[in-house]
């Protein structure tokens, strides 16, 4: 039997999920353009600032990579948990706890530069890991919903974190609610002059590669993926599923906490959040677009960062609020999660292929 099938059909079938994702992203952009066209009074400027703004200057390109950095971390946190089919949405709280506990540690210790940076990062990651252990443990031991538990823990993290900073590390000389400055020994070096782009960006890329290796090239990674694809099969094959469930969530919590403390050490150099910053929920968009693949998290985070930087630039230059980006994000997750979307198209190609045979 010779291969008479059209190469286009084969390509579509093989990369169906990727193509569907790209279609959804384009739809999201299209929707943004429609909204801008509908409500803006200065359409040219607003459209241009939203779609091309992020590339218009060196500072903005720097801020593109700055914005992308925390998104890579929270995207990875959710990717590893979604790979194990754990719907833990606690990355938000882990990010916050990593940032607050890390800040507290950095301010209250004195060390030489390199050691201080390494220790602070380690404390942030450990705090995130410990924070995410509880939903994992409860799920593994009692089968209780990690989803509700982690969502509640996000609020607990918010209030406990704020308490820690406001009552013990608050800079009373400053006008706003903010912590003391981090000692210079615990701040991350900047890597692009004139911007706030810091070495955390490179750490994020390295962690993404590490995660890929871990998930696809190690025994533990294999077990996580197996638990995700079929937990009963994994169990029948002698995998300690409870331990894998906890492991996936602890690692996810660690990388989210890492993102939190690196954001503080690299960008603000003091803790100044007064509410949950939302990076954990952005991570859901990132990992959904990346199809839960750690390497694809990098371009996916870049895409979301592009939207965000474009959104705030548009807010500044044009007349449409930056929250348009949140709307687009929601629509993108909704459409990507709708698995049956475009399914009839795929089905038609499959039928055509079958009849050609």
């Amino acid at each position: 039997m010779t291969d008479r099938q059209s190469p286009v059909d084969n390509f579509v079938l093989r990369n169906f999920r990727l193509i569907r994702t790209i279609v959804v992203i384009l739809l999201g952009w299209f929707l943004a353009a429609l909204v801008i066209l509908a409500i803006s009074r200065d359409r040219g400027t607003t459209l241009r600032s939203f779609f091309l703004g992020p590339l218009s200057s060196r500072v903005l390109i720097g801020s593109l990579f700055e914005t992308m950095t925390p998104l890579v971390f929270t995207g990875l946190a959710l990717a590893i948990q979604f790979q194990a089919k754990q719907f833990n949405l606690g990355a938000e709280g882990c990010f916050f706890i990593g940032a607050t506990v890390g800040t507290a540690f950095a301010i209250s210790t004195r060390m030489p530069t390199a050691l201080h940076i390494v220790c602070t990062i380690a404390v942030g990651a450990a705090a995130g890991a410990a924070w995410n252990w509880l939903p994992g443990y409860l799920k593994a031991k009692y089968g209780s919903s990690e989803l509700v538990c982690s969502l509640m823990l996000n609020y607990v993290a918010l209030y406990l974190g704020l308490y820690l900073i406001n009552y013990h590390f608050r800079d009373t000389a400053a006008n706003e609610m903010t912590s003391y400055r981090l000692p210079t020994t615990a701040t991350l070096p900047r890597i692009l002059p004139g911007t706030r782009l810091h070495i955390g960006f490179l750490i994020a890329l390295a962690v993404a590669v590490l995660f890929w290796v871990f998930l696809y090239r190690t025994k533990w990674g294999y077990q996580i993926r197996m638990v995700g694809s079929n937990i009963n099969f994994a169990k029948a094959n002698g995998i300690n599923t409870g331990r894998v469930i906890v492991l996936a969530q602890v690692i996810g919590g660690a990388v989210a906490g890492l993102g939190g403390i690196i954001q503080i050490m690299g960008i603000d150099q003091r803790f100044l959040y007064e509410s949950l910053p939302g990076f954990g929920f952005d991570g859901i968009v990132v990992t959904r677009i990346a199809l839960n693949n750690p390497l694809l998290v990098i371009p996916s985070a870049l895409f979301l960062a592009y939207l965000k930087v474009g959104g705030s630039y548009m807010n500044l230059m044009g007349d449409v609020p930056a929250e348009l980006v949140n709307v687009v994000e929601g629509v993108i997750i909704l459409l990507i999660s709708s698995e049956a979307l475009l399914e009839t198209w795929r089905y038609r190609i499959m039928m055509r292929k079958a009849s050609e045979r």
């Binding site: 719907f87 009692y142 406990l160 409870g242 929601g330």
Partner: protein
């Protein structure tokens, strides 16, 4: 400590308890209906937010409370319908779809708030209305009892009426029977001719109606303005109340009241010299504690029944 006890035993505390419980109870009864049909609705948060927003905007521009309530509910139902369509027709994971809708609700409301009220945090520049209180004739004249029972916002009465209505619906009507059948065993229900899609869709839409009422109460009764992300997790607390009350009418009401008590106490304690953050955290900690207690109980019951560990089969328990 004495001061706290004294205030808990006061009439003011009862009023405060009813005020904080109402939005949670309305949303929780909604969540209970869809949970009974086997589709947990975690978009309660977003539905409440959208309804709260639409209520404020419509009442500010039309000066009609009732039009605001109707359109607020319509908007919440629209969100619920999107959830139902994505989950039931487009095969989306219902939790992820719900989280997406919550994000969407948060984004859309702030986006429109900033366009309409030129403020990204509060709607205070708009003159919005509130849903009136109800002074019950005769009962209001009874000493003490009248003060406890009468004079609350109409939504407070509606919330408790919803518990009774839900009980009637679920145990005494054909639709209720279908909802329970679909929730317990969709295949068996389908085999006797019940449309699983239609039944679940109706249940999710009903949950949208009730959650919308809860949201409307927040912005048009509890306070008289809309604030960015003003639901602050109440939809999730409602979802936890459903889990705690195993979706039964009385159980769900009891769990909602329990969360209400915790919230009301935390409001009272904030007048004392105590860090506000450590008080605000209470309801969420209570939710987690309740979740733990009931998971342990369920797991013990399941283990007794089957004699084996439940983790493997717990995928469906989500």
């Amino acid at each position: 400590m004495n001061a706290i006890l004294k205030s808990i035993l006061s009439l003011g505390f009862v009023a405060a308890l009813l005020r904080v419980t109402t939005p949670i109870l309305l949303a929780a009864i909604g969540g209970a209906i869809s949970t009974m049909a086997g589709s947990k609705n975690l978009a309660l948060e977003g539905i409440m937010l959208v309804a709260a927003f639409v209520g404020v905007i419509v009442s500010a521009f039309t000066h009609s409370v009732w039009l605001a309530v109707i359109l607020g509910v319509a908007a919440g139902v629209a969100v619920a319908s999107i959830l139902a369509w994505c989950a039931l027709k487009l095969n989306a994971n219902i939790f992820i779809a719900a989280i997406a809708l919550n994000m969407l609700a948060s984004g859309v409301t702030v986006f429109l708030l900033s366009i309409i009220a030129h403020d990204k945090s509060y709607s205070s520049s708009l003159q919005s209305l509130v849903i009136p209180d109800w002074n019950i004739p005769l009962i209001r004249d009874i000493p003490i009892v009248g003060k406890i029972l009468s004079g609350h916002n109409i939504m407070v009465y509606l919330a408790f009426a919803a518990v009774a209505l839900y009980s009637v619906l679920i145990y005494h009507t054909p639709l209720g029977l279908r909802i329970r059948a679909v929730g317990q065993n969709p295949d068996a229900a389908a085999s006797v001719g019940v449309s699983v899609f239609k039944t679940k869709f109706i249940a999710i839409v009903l949950s949208g109606v009730l959650a919308s009422l809860g949201g409307l109460y927040l912005s048009m009764g509890y306070v008289s303005w809309f604030g960015r992300d003003m639901t602050s997790g109440r939809g999730f607390i409602a979802a936890a109340a459903v889990a705690l009350g195993v979706a039964t009418p009385l159980g769900t009401m009891g769990a909602s009241l329990l969360f209400g008590v915790v919230m009301a106490i935390s409001i009272y304690m904030s007048s004392l010299q105590f860090p506000a953050e450590l008080i605000q955290v209470w309801p969420y900690v209570a939710t987690i504690a309740a979740l733990v207690v009931f998971s342990v109980r369920d797991e013990r019951a399941a283990r007794k029944k089957t004699g084996r560990d439940v983790v493997g089969s717990s995928g469906s328990r989500q």
